[in-house]
């Protein structure tokens, strides 16, 4: 399973995803999702 599969599973619009992290490490849509990991989706945002 890759990140995009999980996003689809939760019906998340890829355009509305600004940051993905797997176990706290920046990741991309095509990265594999290891079993038992912590996967986070964040909306687009700016540092400030």
């Amino acid at each position: 399973m890759i990140v995009l599969d999980v996003a689809n599973l939760f019906e998340l619009d890829p355009e509305e995803i600004g940051l993905i992290s797997i176990n706290g490490v920046q990741s991309e849509m095509e990265d594999a999702v290891p079993p038992g990991c912590r996967l986070c989706f964040f909306p687009p945002m700016s540092g400030g």
Binding site: Q26, C40, P43, G47, G48
Partner: protein, 570 residues
């Protein structure tokens, strides 16, 4: 346009035409040039030879959304180098509408004497301000708005600036009773205090806008710019910046392990959920406070909040990410109410929350109180306002506090405390901290928004990324734009060129804008070089190269050779 010179030694004010060399400069760019041309770089930052400059940006006064920020500058007592810090509020637009390119405060009043500079549409005068001496920024602002009208603008220092503390900020009022805008970084409040200038009060200008060289070009560009901000997924009415404010990033920064926690000893905070922007919004709305408010009239992003207590009584005009990081997780505090009270006290004393949060965390590491002990932390901060010896140590910032208390783990570069991103997990920001002429300053080039371009934990590409961001930041700070307004002008620099040409009629091309931006950095670097600052002074603290940061066990490992090469292609 004209310059207003204020000589605090002779108590004379004078107007002069803008010199040709300064004409096409504004905000940070003008400050850099003026410092290089007019002050000895090795002068005492708190002495008579330093100058304090207030300068609106190139777009101020024309009604461009988010473009009314006021730049304040001088030689920094904290870094020993060039400093520009900017704040929202109404001062930037007000000065531009009065035709004032900059206020240059020179010399030094007699010790113990305090003055108010009052500016109206056609005059300026220095007045004795003994009645304001010892007041905090809130009381000073209120008193002066009672005197000069609720629509007047007040720029003031609090007790910290009067004590010449190097963490002192300068407060700027906003629309009517709006407060909490601070030009906070670099100890410029102490420079203002060293001049004997307690406050500046500016009458509301009679004119509604500035003259436009090409009104149609300007209005089209300004309208397009505003619409692009509204359409931006981060910034528009459904964007995280508007809904949750700058605190929208707490969760993400914590997740990537870069949230300053317990004096930068770990990059994630177990109670970060309590500090997140989503929680802040829930609390504020539940208590009938406000979210989505503005620091400048006409801002379409509107990322501020009006934080209230459980009874709905106001605590602070806005609670922002940097304060939440440095005075929340970094102090082991997980209750936003506690952070809001610390923020209020800093605002009132006129203190930078980043510098003071870092200094307080060092005091906690030294054992003066426990991390997470709200009552003791509030008591420590109260000492700053009271001017006790310990309070003055903390108020002088992280480096001084570390030296006095024997703490080596001091998160600072060029004498200035790091903001809310640990550079071991966000190495692009580390490169900015270690190379910016402004010292450790996220607004000088924040890599957080550029995650997809470069791996935050890696070394590759950080140098190029930081340079790109620093050039953009120089443009924003020189035009008066909020740093959050950068997406449209990064995507289409012609928009910025058209707005500038529409106001000033200079006929710039995109290449001229790029040269302008780079010249800001070149001028600042030259000032610092002449001030005696060397590459070694800019280094990230050694402990951050040695001490792995949880949760990624990363160190700051960008080689010095990479840092030294950042400006090779400037």
């Amino acid at each position: 346009m004209k310059l207003l010179r204020v000589n605090m030694s002779t108590l004379e004010v004078s107007w002069e035409p803008v010199p040709a060399d300064y004409m096409q400069l504004g905000g940070r760019a003008l400050i850099a040039k003026l410092l290089l041309e007019e002050i000895p770089p090795t002068c005492d930052a708190l002495g008579r030879q330093n100058k304090l400059i207030f300068a609106p940006g190139l777009l101020a006064g024309g009604g461009v959304t988010t473009a009314g920020r006021l730049s304040v500058g001088g030689k920094s007592p904290l870094t020993g180098g060039v400093k520009e810090a900017n704040a929202g509020g109404t001062a930037g637009d007000t000065l531009a509408k009065l035709g004032i390119k900059a206020i240059v405060v020179e010399g030094q009043a007699q010790s113990g004497a305090w003055y108010l500079l009052h500016i109206s549409s056609d005059s300026a005068e220095l007045l004795l301000a003994d009645d304001l001496h010892g007041l905090g920024t809130y009381a000073t602002s209120t008193r002066l708005q009672e005197r000069y009208g609720v629509d007047s603008t007040v720029i003031t220092i609090g007790q910290a600036g009067e004590y010449l503390l190097q963490g002192a900020s300068i407060s700027v009022t906003g629309e009517r009773d709006q407060r909490s805008n601070h030009a906070a970084r670099g100890g410029l409040g102490a420079v203002m205090g060293s001049k004997g200038l307690k406050a500046v009060a500016i009458d509301k200008p009679l004119g509604k806008s500035i003259p436009l060289a090409d009104a149609e070009l300007f209005r089209n560009a300004a309208r397009t710019f505003a619409q692009k901000l509204i359409n931006d997924p981060k910034l528009g009415t459904q964007g995280s910046q508007h809904l949750y404010g700058t605190a929208s990033i707490v969760g993400a920064v914590n997740e990537i392990g870069s949230l300053p926690t317990l004096n930068f000893s770990t990059g994630s905070f177990e109670s970060a959920t309590e500090l997140r922007g989503e929680h802040l919004r829930e609390l504020v709305l539940e208590r009938e406070g406000k979210v989505g408010t503005r620091c400048m009239p006409g801002c379409v992003i509107a990322c501020r909040n009006y934080y209230v207590d459980v009874d709905g009584k106001p605590i602070v005009g806005t609670l922002q990410y940097e304060t939440i990081a440095l005075m929340g997780s970094n102090l082991g505090l997980s209750n936003l109410d506690d952070v809001a009270w610390l923020n209020y006290m800093c605002n009132d004393f006129g203190l930078d929350t980043i510098e003071t949060g870092a200094a307080l965390a060092i005091a906690l590491e030294a054992g003066l109180a426990q991390f997470g002990d709200t009552k003791s932390i509030l008591a420590l901060l109260k000492e700053v306002g009271q001017g006790t010896v310990l309070g003055r140590v903390i108020g002088n910032g992280a480096v001084t506090t570390g030296r006095v208390l024997g703490i080596r783990r001091v998160p600072a570069v060029l004498g200035q405390a790091m903001p809310g991103y640990d550079p071991r997990s966000l190495k692009g920001n580390g490169v900015t901290y270690a190379t910016s002429p402004q010292g450790a300053d996220h607004t000088a080039g924040n890599a957080f928004g550029a995650r997809k371009e470069v791996n935050p934990l890696g070394v590759q590409g950080q140098r190029e990324l930081s340079l790109k961001l620093q050039i953009i930041a120089a443009m924003l700070d020189s035009t008066g734009l909020c740093l959050f307004a950068r997406p449209p002008v990064i995507a289409d620099p012609q928009l910025m060129v058209d707005m500038i040409n529409g106001i000033h009629g200079w006929g710039w091309a995109k290449e001229d804008l790029d040269r302008f931006n780079r010249d800001v950095l070149r001028t600042e670097l030259e000032f610092n070089r002449r001030a005696g600052i060397t590459a070694a002074d800019y280094r990230i603290p050694e402990y951050m190269r040695e001490e792995p940061l949880a949760p990624h066990n990363s160190t700051f490992d960008v080689p010095d050779s990479e840092l030294d090469a950042v400006f090779n292609s400037l």
